[in-house]
Amino acid sequence: MKSINLKENQFIQFHQKISFKFDGVKYFGYKGDTIASALLRNNINLVGRSFKYHRPRGIYTCGIEEPNALVQIISEYSEPNTRATIKKIYEGMEIESQNRWPSLENDFGSINNLFSPIFTAGFYYKTFMGPHKKFWKNLYEPLIRRAAGLGKPPKDFKGISNHIHHNVDITIIGGGLNGLLAAKSFINSNYDVLLIDFEEQLGGIINNSNKISSIDNKEPKDWLKETIQEIEDSKNIKILKNTLVTTYNYINHLIAIEDRFVGSKPIEGKVNSTLHKIRASHTILCNGHIERFLSFQNNDLPGIMLSSSFEKYMCRYGLAPSKEPVIFSNNSNSNSLVYGLIKAGLKPKAYIDSRSGEEIEPNLFDLIRKNDVPLYTNSQIKGAFGNKKIEKILVEDSSGALNEIKCDCLCLSGGINPDVHLFTQSKGLLDWDEKDLTYKPSKPFQPTITLGSASGQFNFDNLNSDINEKLKTFKVKKLDVKLELNTNTKYNIEKLWEVSPQKKSLWAKSFIDLQNDVTTKDIRQAITEGFDRIEHLKRYTTNSMGTDQGKISSINALGIVSDLLDKKVNEVGTTIYRPPYAPLSFSAIAGRNCYEFYDPERKSPIHSWHLKNGAIFEDVGQWKRPWYFQINKDESMHDAVQRESKNVRENAGILDGSTLGKIEIKGEDALEFMNLIYTNSFTKMKQGSARYALMLGEDGMVKDDGIICKISDQHFIATTTTGGAATVLGCMEEYAQTEWPNLKVFMNSITEQYATFNISGPKTREIMKKAFPNINFSNEEFPFMTFQFHEFNDIPIRILRASFTGELGYEIYIPSNSAPKIWDNIQSVGKEFGLAPYGTEAMHLLRAEKGYIIVGQDTDGSITPIDLGLSWMIGKSKKDFLGKRSLARSDTIREDRKQLVGIIPSNKADKLEEGQHIILDREIKSPVPMLGHITSCYYSSTLGHDFALAVIKNGHSMIGTKAYASTSSMSTTGVDIVKPVFYDEDNKRLVS
């Protein structure tokens, strides 16, 4: 294909040469070129290999609908599957073709084309089934993945995208003729308007075709310039260019992606795309139409392109891809291409139309006759032939004779479709137009207006009245635009979906989906095999399932299916159009919510101290908690945890418990409310005392636990688990508002307002005395499970005597801002007593030795307080609380429920593993009846062996018996089932 540059073009700067590389070879294009137009300028049309058969493929279109010309942009982190027809070139751009090996010219995979008779519809489903199910994973899938497909995944891509929200009255999608006229109506009105266009230059059909000769007696481009200026000057209209609307959701919620680096290389670290999230009261769709192709033998050869695309290359890029293309059409849409070619001093090699001479427009007839263009009416192309490019075509003329025409380019037009993608995404309904042979928008589901060819108006004669009528609900001025056309015709089309092949050969291919290599034969075969519902057919054949979603071909497929089934097209229906309209990258969707901004990190006020003191952190929800502290780089986690826990048992340890949820509950009816929320009864509880409490779901299962401090009947402070804080507050709010709105009670989170330090160990009292000399910590003055308010150096603090380790312990609550000072003070006075910080892992070990549960680890949403042996916590005299009635359900009172027990290895040297099953038999013989599983498991240096908590069926009555625990090496370990408490069963240390 020999292309020529046309002299004049307002969009291409012919004086500004740009060099780029395609498959390692350097070429030149001009500023304003897309990859496709630049390649065509260099007479390159072989740009890729097809998905399945590795057939040579060229540039088929000039826009977003491109099925073939997908390339990999090496200079942009190797971004794959980029449409060459829309991506602009820049100096130094590096591009590679896709899906070929070792080279585009000599592709090994094209051997698939020889085997093509076996790669038919449903090929994968039928072929790769046996002989063993492992064959798919280990052999077939890796092979297919290498042979079939598109580009390679990008490397080290760190795209940055911003999200911007718009709230407007009107969104106009498409800045072509109708979009501009709609925007013009809204100039200086009271409506906020957003006008969005995918291209850098507004104008659509005015820029892309020869159709319009004058607007309001002006040159189209002059009118365009004036109009755009007026719209830009209007204060109520905002224009987004280089922005593609990909998604049309409920309630006029649109998603659009703006390319911020059109025609230049994205700068690392700069925002390369903007995702616009738009809310509008009304959406006006002016997104135009898409031309269809036609199916005949070898309709995929490089050198074949859509005729409107050829016209767009001429008008928009100053480039005729060929000097003498053959045109094949079944409709009037290519008339303007014939006109444009002749105006440019070129001539079609032949004009072939499936319509009869009477149907062909008289002015086209005149033009063709006057310029001696060979004309074939009532004729069809039987096939195209050539080696990696089109060289000749066979035309069956009206007499049935076959004519061979040599050519280097063939322009196709199979008719046009309104681009209904966004309209159907909005849930609007389509109707089949039997005259124009296409689906057109009918009933909108939302406040959606369609204008111009997007609404199925393929002629211009109702331009003004249509816009005025559809915009009459708005207070805008009426339009009266005068439009003159170059080829004064009404849209006319004759039905033609597929030309029947000249030779019936197994290797003859007439494509219906170029990107996914689906042939018309595949469609036939699928229907023969019973896949006659359009959604089944689509998935079985993969028709229209490529990244182009069959934009130029899916209606043809419906036409072929309707003929085969002898049904009307609207009885066949269409498949559902789903967002996005065109692929958009994950980085655009993620926006700034990635890397360090992916999820907030919550840190305690003591965090910087932990960092300085060797803390290794653990994520608990969004919180960073010290897991353990390394005293030197060589200390292992096991050693650190054992050292920390031993120190708590022998001296004293301090844990940063600031992440625990803290909720303050106040109000006249706070007592009654707390009695309803928790299982415990708080009525008889003294002021200044604290209680360990459980919260259940209405199903009776344990949801959270914590310590409740009663300041008065009108004022409580509850602690929750670190992970459960939001849920507990949410649950309290829900019941306060929805079930007991009569109770006067308010609650709020004070988690971040207060830091919490948990100090415990036998030497704690001495440390506390030294740290807070004005407070009496004696057992009489400060008994277990009581709390006191104090002031320390003018800092208000609350001290609670409680323990999660089983040792004497205190929890200190301090306003967050003053916490580091007090923490440092405790560290320095504690030194002489051997005080050391400990992390969550040592805390877990210490509490497990005491048999204290962790909600979410030892419980899983199917465990009641009774299962845990915590019946004493249930306020039996209370009439009601969350989940109370469920504790008496037949399923909850079953005796063989899973219950909490302790497990120790019968042979103390044996190891236990968390998550392993408890079973009755030493031998593992399937089916293995499983009693339950180990929920927590640790080595204890205090005990000198492994121990575990487990939930097992009928566990409470199995205490004192023996069983087995499975191991990860598929054997078993003998275990003793014991009470779930391993240390200081009488709580002597707790109350010492």
């Binding site: 309630i251 919620h253 209405e698 709010e733 508002q737 009439k879 009635r885």
Partner: protein, 116 residues
């Protein structure tokens, strides 16, 4: 994404809200004897109609207030939101505006209207 009209704050993005399931489900009075069936139905059973549905929402990332609404589950359209202490609206008031975009046609897909 839906726009939900919080009765306290006005129209806001769906991402600020959490769904709370069926509305107007009365919690049995704990001070009285409750049968297994009655309690079981309260805890486990909720309606799941295609069409109009009384539903609870909470403005989680806003005013934290619970409120009720009528939502058409076939179209996701929220027809009205109202405060908890307001009377529940009569569903017959909305019949005329119910539409189904994907009314399961015999052949084809969501692009067909189904006349009721």
């Amino acid at each position: 994404m839906l726009i939900i009209n919080c009765p306290y704050c006005g129209p806001r993005d769906q991402s600020e809200f959490s769904n709370g399931g069926e509305a107007h489900v009365k919690r049995p009075d704990g001070s009285k004897e409750i049968g297994d069936r009655e309690w079981g139905e309260y805890v486990f059973i909720r309606a799941n109609p295609k069409g109009l549905f009384y539903e609870r929402w909470v403005h989680t990332h806003g005013c934290r207030k619970w409120f009720n609404c009528v939502r058409d589950t076939s179209t996701d359209e929220i027809l009205v939101t109202y405060k908890l202490d307001e009377k529940k609206p009569n569903l017959n008031n909305f019949k005329s505006v119910v539409k189904t975009p994907s009314g399961e046609p015999e052949v084809g897909s969501g692009n067909f209207t189904v006349e009721k």
